[in-house]
Structures are given as structure tokens and as C-alpha cells.
């Protein structure tokens, strides 16, 4: 009897863990990402005391060859309306421009603030760029366990930066649904302590199921109690965005 039980346990364990952490993350990374994206982002910043502040921005982004361009323009609140940021990444170099309507001038910014906050939210620039997939080769991935919740099966993977890789976090724990492989929850740890928690409450499919994109995200800073709810609206995927959008003239418009 005891032998049988051992065998059953071994078999079920090997079945459950038939996939490795590396494999899970490769499947996550295998999702294609759109070549262009245009839409509106509504950010609700919620303080620990429950005070809310809403910011609305318009985003245009495009990937062509080795070049990535992104333009962000504030729509609300009224006092920052028209404030625009243009980022152009080419051959590993990044150029940032800023337009403040009150100054009526476009300024070039030398910013190396990868860890900095994205538009003053709880998301960092790193977090935002990792949304379309983190550089999985920079991390070691270990499958911690599988979990079942609401009838859905999840792989729980711990990703730690490889030696020499600079990362904002000391580790991340990622919940990956076994069916979609689009992470629904990520815990970010800093110096071994839980720092932020990302939840993807809604994942929509675009281009007839070609893309799976989180459209309602929440990032909570566990240490300060502050959180940001990010909603992506009116998304247009893989549409042609002309070069004139990523220009100083368009920024000022």
C-alpha cells in the first residue's frame, strides 16, 4: 500500500511539473507583439488614504526594424493637457524629447531613468516595457509550483536576474495561466521584500486572436499602499502610423 502511494505521488508530481520554469517563460515570451499600437490610457492614481487622481494620455507606438518610436500626449487633467513625450530608440541609443505647452519649447532630455516612474504612476518605465515581455534570457526561471484557482491552472514561476544583469528587482514571482500563457499576476521583490504587485484583470484578444493584450492592469506598491489602475482603451493594433506623428511639430499641435 505504502509503495503504491509513493508511486502515485511520484507520478502525479512528475506530471504536474512536466514543464520547467524556463519553458513556461519561453511560452510567455513566444506571444507575438504588435508592430504598432495606438490608443488611450487612463491612469487612476489611488493614494493609501483612498484619494484618487486621474490622468489620461494618448499613445502612439511603432516598431520598424531596429527602431522603436513612441509618442505620449496628455489629455487630462486640463493643466497638463498637451504635454508630450517622444522617445526614439535606435541601435541601442535612446532619444527623448519633451514638450511643455507652458514653456512652448521642445526640450531634449538625457534620461537614464529606466527605474523611474512611468508618467508619475506606480509603473516604472521598465515595468511598462516588460509588459510586452521581459528579456527572458536575462533571468533564471524556476517553476515553484502549480496552482488551481477558479478552475484555472497556473504555473508559478520565480524569475531572478542572472549575475551581472542589472534589474530593478531582486526577484519576480509570475503567475502564468496554463491555457493562455499571459501572466495574470506578478509580484516584484526588492532586496528580498515584496515591493509591488501587478494584476492583469482583463486580457483582450486582437487581430483575430493573434495578440493577447492586458487592457486593465493594477500595480500596487505594497510598501507605500499607493496603487495605479491602468486601462487601455480604443486600442488600434497594427495600423499604419505615419512618421509625421513622431515629430516636434506633432508634439506641439
Amino acid at each position: 500500500m505504502r509503495k503504491l502511494l509513493t508511486v502515485v505521488l511520484l507520478v502525479s508530481a512528475s506530471l504536474a511539473l512536466a514543464i520547467s520554469g524556463e519553458e513556461v517563460m519561453q511560452k510567455v515570451d513566444a506571444h507575438p507583439s504588435p508592430t504598432s499600437l495606438q490608443g488611450t490610457m487612463v491612469m487612476r492614481l489611488v493614494s493609501k488614504q483612498g484619494k484618487e487622481l486621474t490622468r489620461e494620455i494618448q499613445v502612439w507606438s511603432r516598431k520598424t526594424g531596429g527602431e522603436e518610436k513612441m509618442l505620449i500626449k496628455f489629455v487630462a487633467p486640463a493643466d497638463v493637457k498637451g504635454t508630450a513625450f517622444l522617445t526614439i530608440k535606435k541601435d541601442g541609443k535612446e532619444e527623448m524629447k519633451l514638450y511643455l505647452p507652458a514653456l512652448k519649447r521642445v526640450r531634449r532630455i538625457a534620461s537614464s531613468q529606466k527605474k523611474g516612474s512611468f508618467m508619475g504612476s506606480d509603473f516604472s518605465y521598465d515595468d511598462i516595457s516588460n509588459l510586452s515581455g521581459m528579456k527572458i534570457e536575462d533571468y533564471s526561471h524556476k517553476l515553484l509550483r502549480t496552482e488551481k484557482k477558479d478552475g484555472q491552472e497556473f504555473y508559478v514561476v520565480e524569475s531572478t536576474p542572472k549575475p551581472g544583469v542589472e534589474s530593478s528587482y531582486s526577484k519576480q514571482i509570475v503567475w502564468v495561466p496554463a491555457d493562455t500563457f499571459v501572466p495574470t499576476r506578478i509580484e516584484f521583490y526588492k532586496n528580498g521584500k515584496l515591493y509591488k504587485v501587478l494584476t492583469n484583470a482583463e486580457v483582450k484578444s486582437f487581430a483575430e486572436g493573434k495578440y493577447l493584450i492586458p487592457t486593465l492592469l493594477q500595480m500596487e506598491n505594497v510598501q507605500t499602499g499607493h496603487k495605479t489602475v491602468l486601462e487601455q482603451k480604443d486600442l488600434k493594433i497594427d495600423v499604419a502610423i505615419p512618421d509625421s506623428v513622431f515629430s516636434e511639430r506633432f508634439m506641439k499641435r
Partner: protein, 749 residues
């Protein structure tokens, strides 16, 4: 009393067992007793400035400010790397809410046509980069002289800690983290550092003081009784009362602060005196030929009234402190009163029970044999009746002089004043005051539209004004951040002209780093901001003037542009507490006098006697405060207690009254009654004063200046109460209580 003594003598084992069980119950509470001397333990929780500070901490994060000065040549790659290591290490300590140093400062400037917003210190530094960084820091208003001293000899690490943390542990951790990373000396200043040091000192002082007080009291008792049980029994009483009082504190979740560290000695000194009276009488009766059991019964019955009255009076005087709004003083009052009543129970139940079981003492000596003390009392008794009017006149004159000086008393709540000048945190604080312009701060919470350039301009003008005061180091707020950013964007210092301009520059700043960085100056909605004014550590009076001036400037300059501007901060809280201490002092003293007079009047069945009984106390207490006013001794959290404690320990004069009334009852004339009461009770009063006064002298060992001052004042108090009890009291009795009040006082009680 009769019931108590009979129970004790009939069922000694049951009484002892009951005491053992109760003591065990309270003793278990001892584990829960904690030390805490944070400003929180001193500040009433509902103080408006406290509520404002709590709210500011919620909104802007941060906490009590600890200031570390790291000594050494700051401008080398090695030192800056060490500083970064130290900053990271401290930031990881539990209870540290924010760390600010050059290592996490920002560089924001125009560089080759680019707006640069980045960390001031790059990840790796070469010696060639340092002059440029130093030049930037030197002209930056928020960094120069604040994060690095102008001469480059000190780097600052400003550590904000959760005010609810265990400061002792936290302080050790911070010190360890800093010294592990930094190669030179590390100086720690600020309230958390002082609190940590206070707790260390308390943990060291309390057992030492207790032991020394025990030794002194034991010695006095030995001189009085010349027997082992004469020493051990009073000590048994105080042991019981200490366990009960401290155990109750543990069960109730009280924390002992600097003030309550004197609790054990107070209970010890007051508690032991009760047993002294019982034993005195016991030996007296034995010497008069009574059997042991009979002697116990007589001793408790005869001294019982005096002990009861003085226990109730002491309890009332101490319990009156419960009206204080200062949490630490409140809990001290309650526990001390409970301790005194426990000592009363022990001396009138437990001690008789033990005496009933013990064999007859081998050497039955008469403690009232005419030794030097008794002879002195006899001469006093002979002289006093003739001089009674003169004595009363002198007492009145004394009162007048003391009342003249009482209003000159000044209160002091600065933590720094607790320490001798050579204590490390005091020296560190003085260093930080000198090098960095202040280790303390005053916070102004501004409510209004912070995107309004006019309000920001007003805040900036206010900062310029207060920063020019010699007691102020610097001031920092969102206005400085916007000015820096505006300069980086436009090349000129100033503020944007429009509200939108401010909003957009703030947005840029928020995007360029951690949103937390802005959160320390302003809330996200830009409706409330805090201005941090860095100030030197000052004596309370000067600090009060400075805070008043800062608030006045804020009202005049910022007020018209804002919804409100209010001052708070740890220092402001301590100042508010000081005002309360002064106010409470009068309330609790008045209450204590009324209670003591009331008890004495009720128990001795005469209003006149009740009033006369407080004569020595009135003289002593006005003497204490008069002397403090005369010699400039400040009223602080420790010395604020002396009035109430004087009433607690000083009521042994009641024994003289009881004896005097007893003699009148026996039909003696007033003069003869006064002589007899001085001769019989005078000796006990003398030795009680010696024991209590000696016990308090143990507090001279304390590492805190206020406690040492307290000990000296208690020395005066105990001496003065004894002196007044032996002179002014009998004189007043002779004048006001001449026999009409002859009542069956003793037996009725």
C-alpha cells in the same frame, strides 16, 4: 485595623499563601513590562499638533528624524561609494521609512543642450568626475551644507524612522549599518538617537538604583532596629509592593519611560516606612512585657491608623497625577499609588502574619530608649511650646518668600537637557547643529492650491526669511524643487508664471524619478505640502520663541495665499506637552492637597485637624517650587512629579498628630501632649525620613540630569517635611487644636 491584625494573627499561613498567590499573579505581568521613552509616551494622544503630525506623516511619509554625520574626507570615490553602501544598508532596516543622503540625491541641470535628470552619483565614479559633482552640490540650495558640510569633512545621512519602532534596537541597528560601511567616525543625533540612548541608560540605571536604594534603606533600618528581621521584614513589604505595582503595569500594557524609572525607588522608599512604624511599635510592646501575639495585635492596632492615613494620603497624592495629560506621568501616578496601597496591605497583613509565626526575637531591645535622637526630641519638646508663635510666624514668612519665587519657574522638555554635556548623543547633536545647521525640525503643513505660482512664491519668500535666523539651518519645500527644475529647463532661477506651467513642471519631475521623492514635499493632488525648517536643538524657552516667530512669519507671508498653514513636528509636540505639564502641575497639586486634607479630616474626625495636617506639606511643596524658581531649576517631566511625590512620602507627620490626639484623649494638657508626641513619634519620623531620603539618594546614580535634580530636590523634600513635621506642625497643633477636638480617634478607626 483590628480585623486585619486579628486575621493575620489567627490565620498566618493562609495570609502568607494568599499573598504568595496574588504576588505570583502580578509577577507574571512583569514579563509584559516594556521600556519606552519615545516622544509618543510623553505627548497626549489627542493634542491637535499631534493629530496634525500624524496626518502629515500619513501624507508625506517620513517619521522622526535621526541625523547621522559621517566624518572623513567626503569627496573621494571611496568615501562616496561607502556612503552609498551605508545609505542602502540603513534603508533596509525595518522601521526606517526614508533615508536621504548624497547617494540618492538627484542631478537636474542643463548639460550640452540636454535637460539632464539623473542620480547625482553615477554607479561608478572616477576621481576626475568628483570636482563637477562637488560644484553642483555646493550651489544646490537643498544639498549644500545639508547633505555635505561646506568644508567637505562630513557627509550627512538623514534617516526618518517610524516613531512606533523600538528605538533602542533600531538605533543599534542603524549605528551598526553605518559603521560597517563608513570608515571614519559616525555621529548620531536627533530624537530617535536620544531616545535610544535614554532607553540604554534606563536599562542600566533601574537595577542599579534599586539595589543602592535597597542597601541604603536596609542600613537605616539596621541602625534603627539592630536586628535581621528589622531589616528583612520592611524589605519583604517593598518586594511585595514592587511586584504588585510593576506586575500591574505589565498586565495593563504600560511602558516605563524615563519618568517611571523612578517608580521602583518611590514605592521602595514609601512602602518601607509603613513597616518601620509597625515594627517600631511591636518592639516597643515586647519591651513593655507583652506576649508576642498580643504585641503584634497592639502594634497593628496602635500604628494602624497612622499607617492607614499616610497610605491613603500618599496614594491620593500619587493618584492625583492620573489627571495629567502626559501618558507617562499618568501611568506613573496610577502604578505608584497602587504600589503604596500594596505596601500598606503588606505591612498590616503580611508582616503581622510573619511576626506571629516567627520565634520571639532573642534580643528584645527598646527602640525608644533615650539614644541621641530621643534626647534631641526631648529637648525639642521642651523648647517648642514657648516658641510656637515665633515658629508659625517664621513659617508664614517662609511661605511668603517661596510664593514670590514660584512664578519664576521655567519648564524644560528638550531631550538634550536630559544628558550631561559629555554624553555621546549630546555631543553628536551639538556637532550636527554646528556643521549641518540643525538636528531638529519644525514642520509647516500648508493647505491650498500648490500649483498656484503665487503660493509657491510666498513659500519661497518665507523660507528665505526663516533661513536667515541664526537658530535655523535651512528650509526645504516643493517651491525649491520647482525652482531647481525651472532653472534646469529655462536656465534661470524662478517659478513658472502660470498654474499650468507649475503643473507641467511638476509632472516632469514626477516622471523623472520615484514618485516618493515628490511625496515627501507634497501630496499627489497638490493640495497640501510640508515645509521642513531645520533648526538647532534649543532649550525649551528659546525653541518656543523660535516656533512662535516661524508661525508668525508663515501666517504673514504664506497665510494670505493659502487656506491654512500650521506648525508641527516632534519639537512642537514637546513644547505643547511642556505647557500641559505646567498646567497639570497646578491641577494635580491642588487635587492632592484637597484629598489629603479630606482623608485626614475624615479619619481623624475633625476639619481643623485635617487642615492643620497639611501645614508641613504646604510648607514643603512651596519650598520645593520656590527653590526651583530661586535657583533656576527647570520643571521638566521628572521634576514635575516632586510636588505629588512629596505629598506621597511626606505624610508621616500624621503619626505626630495621631499621638498628640491620643495624649489629649488621655486627658493631658496640650503642651504635655505635644512633648509626648514629639518624644515618642519624633524618633520614628526621623528614621523614616532618613530611610526615604536615603532611598531617593540612589537616584543620584541616574544618567539623566532631570532625575539627578529630582533626587536632590527629594533630599530637600524629605528633610524639610521632617523638619516642618517636628516644628511647624506641633506649633500649629498647639495653637489650633487645644483639646476641643478630643475624640475617640484611635479606637474608632
Amino acid at each position: 485595623m483590628q480585623l486585619l491584625s486579628q486575621t493575620a494573627v489567627r490565620h498566618p499561613w493562609r495570609v502568607i499563601l494568599a499573598f504568595l498567590i496574588i504576588s505570583l499573579g502580578f509577577g507574571l505581568g512583569l514579563k509584559g513590562l516594556e521600556l519606552d521613552n519615545s516622544p509618543e509616551s510623553l505627548v497626549p494622544p489627542d493634542l491637535p499638533a499631534k493629530l496634525l503630525l500624524d496626518q502629515a506623516r500619513q501624507t508625506f511619509g517620513g517619521g522622526d528624524m535621526e541625523f547621522a554625520a559621517l566624518e572623513g574626507d567626503v569627496w573621494t570615490p571611496q568615501a562616496l561609494a561607502d556612503l552609498r553602501k551605508a545609505t542602502v544598508a540603513v534603508g533596509q532596516i525595518e522601521g526606517v521609512k526614508r533615508v536621504t543622503s548624497l547617494a540618492n540625491a538627484k542631478r537636474m541641470e542643463e548639460d550640452n543642450g540636454f535637460l539632464v535628470v539623473e542620480d547625482l552619483l553615477p554607479d561608478s565614479l572616477s576621481p576626475a568626475e568628483i570636482p563637477q559633482i562637488r560644484a553642483y552640490v555646493d550651489k544646490h540650495p537643498l544639498y549644500s551644507g545639508r547633505l555635505a558640510s561646506k568644508d567637505g569633512r562630513y557627509a550627512a545621512v538623514i534617516i526618518e524612522v517610524d516613531s512606533k519602532s523600538d528605538m533602542k534596537k533600531l538605533n543599534h541597528q542603524i549605528e551598526a549599518a553605518l559603521t560597517a560601511s563608513w570608515r571614519g567616525p559616525v555621529h548620531l543625533a536627533g530624537t530617535p538617537a536620544l531616545s535610544g540612548y535614554i532607553l540604554d541608560t534606563m536599562a542600566r540605571d533601574i537595577p542599579r538604583q534599586l539595589l543602592l536604594a535597597l542597601l541604603i534603606i536596609a542600613l537605616v533600618f539596621f541602625v534603627n532596629f539592630r536586628s535581621q528581621r528589622g531589616v528583612l521584614l520592611p524589605l519583604l513589604t517593598v518586594l511585595v509592593s514592587l511586584v504588585w505595582a510593576l506586575g500591574l503595569g505589565g498586565w495593563l500594557g504600560f511602558k516605563l519611560g524615563m519618568v517611571s524609572s523612578i517608580l521602583p525607588v518611590v514605592v521602595l522608599a514609601v512602602g518601607s516606612s509603613f513597616t518601620l512604624h509597625v515594627l517600631n511599635r511591636f518592639y516597643h510592646e515586647l519591651a513593655a512585657g507583652a506576649q508576642r501575639r498580643e504585641a503584634v495585635l497592639l502594634a497593628v492596632r496602635e500604628t494602624g491608623l497612622g499607617v492607614l492615613v499616610s497610605a491613603l494620603a500618599a496614594g491620593a497624592g500619587l493618584a492625583a497625577l492620573y489627571t495629567s495629560s502626559v501618558p507617562q506621568i499618568k501611568s506613573f501616578g496610577l502604578l505608584a499609588a497602587f504600589g503604596v496601597l500594596s505596601a500598606f496591605l503588606a505591612s498590616s497583613l503580611l508582616i503581622p502574619a510573619v511576626l506571629a509565626l516567627l520565634k520571639d526575637p532573642r534580643l528584645v531591645m527598646d527602640p525608644e530608649r533615650p539614644d541621641a535622637v530621643s534626647r534631641a526630641m526631648r529637648s525639642l519638646g521642651a523648647w517648642l511650646p514657648r516658641a510656637r508663635w515665633g515658629i508659625l510666624l517664621a513659617a508664614l514668612l517662609f511661605l511668603g518668600v517661596m510664593f514670590y519665587f514660584i512664578p519664576r519657574i521655567q519648564a524644560e522638555t528638550s531631550f538634550l537637557s536630559y544628558f550631561p554635556k559629555t554624553a555621546p548623543p549630546r555631543m553628536a547633536t551639538e556637532l550636527v547643529d554646528r556643521v549641518f545647521g540643525g538636528s531638529d525640525n519644525v514642520i509647516l503643513v500648508v493647505d491650498g492650491d500648490l500649483k498656484d505660482p503665487e503660493l509657491l512664491g510666498a513659500i519661497y519668500r518665507f523660507e528665505q526669511k526663516v533661513a536667515a535666523y541664526p537658530q535655523v539651518g535651512s528650509a526645504a519645500s516643493i517651491a525649491d524643487v520647482v525652482r531647481e527644475l525651472h532653472k534646469a529647463l529655462t536656465g534661470a532661477y524662478g517659478l513658472p508664471d502660470t498654474r499650468d506651467g507649475v503643473a507641467q513642471e511638476l509632472l516632469l519631475y514626477q516622471m523623472s524619478g520615484d514618485p516618493e521623492e515628490l511625496a515627501q514635499f507634497m501630496d499627489e493632488g497638490a493640495t497640501t505640502a510640508q515645509i521642513t525648517v531645520q533648526v538647532r536643538s534649543l532649550p525649551s524657552r528659546e525653541m518656543q520663541n523660535l516656533v512662535a516667530r516661524i508661525q508668525k512669519d508663515a501666517d504673514a507671508i504664506i497665510g494670505p495665499k493659502a487656506d491654512s498653514v500650521r506648525a508641527t513636528g516632534t519639537t512642537v509636540l514637546m513644547l505643547e506637552t511642556m505647557r500641559l505639564i505646567l498646567h497639570d502641575q497646578y491641577v494635580s497639586l491642588a487635587l492632592a492637597f484637597v484629598l489629603v486634607a479630606l482623608f485626614n479630616a475624615l479619619l481623624l474626625r475633625s476639619w481643623v485637624v485635617g487642615l492643620v495636617s497639611i501645614v508641613p506639606l504646604l510648607l514643603t511643596v512651596s519650598g520645593q517650587f520656590g527653590l526651583m524658581g530661586m535657583f533656576g531649576v527647570p520643571l521638566d517631566t521628572a521634576t514635575a512629579l516632586i510636588g505629588a511625590i512629596a505629598i506621597g512620602v511626606g505624610d508621616y507627620s500624621v503619626h505626630i498628630i495621631v499621638r498628640y490626639l491620643e495624649e489629649l484623649r488621655k486627658g493631658r494638657a496640650a503642651v504635655a501632649a505635644a512633648r509626648e508626641s514629639l518624644y515618642v513619634s519624633g524618633r520614628a519620623v526621623f528614621f523614616t525620613a532618613l530611610a526615604i531620603g536615603g532611598g531617593f539618594m540612589a537616584l543620584l546614580l541616574s544618567g539623566f540630569a532631570p532625575i539627578q535634580t529630582f533626587a536632590k530636590l527629594m533630599g530637600f523634600t524629605v528633610g524639610a517635611t521632617a523638619l516642618f513635621a517636628l516644628t511647624a506642625l506641633p506649633a500649629a497643633l498647639l495653637v489650633f487644636v487645644r483639646g476641643k477636638e478630643r475624640k475617640e480617634v484611635v479606637n474608632d478607626a
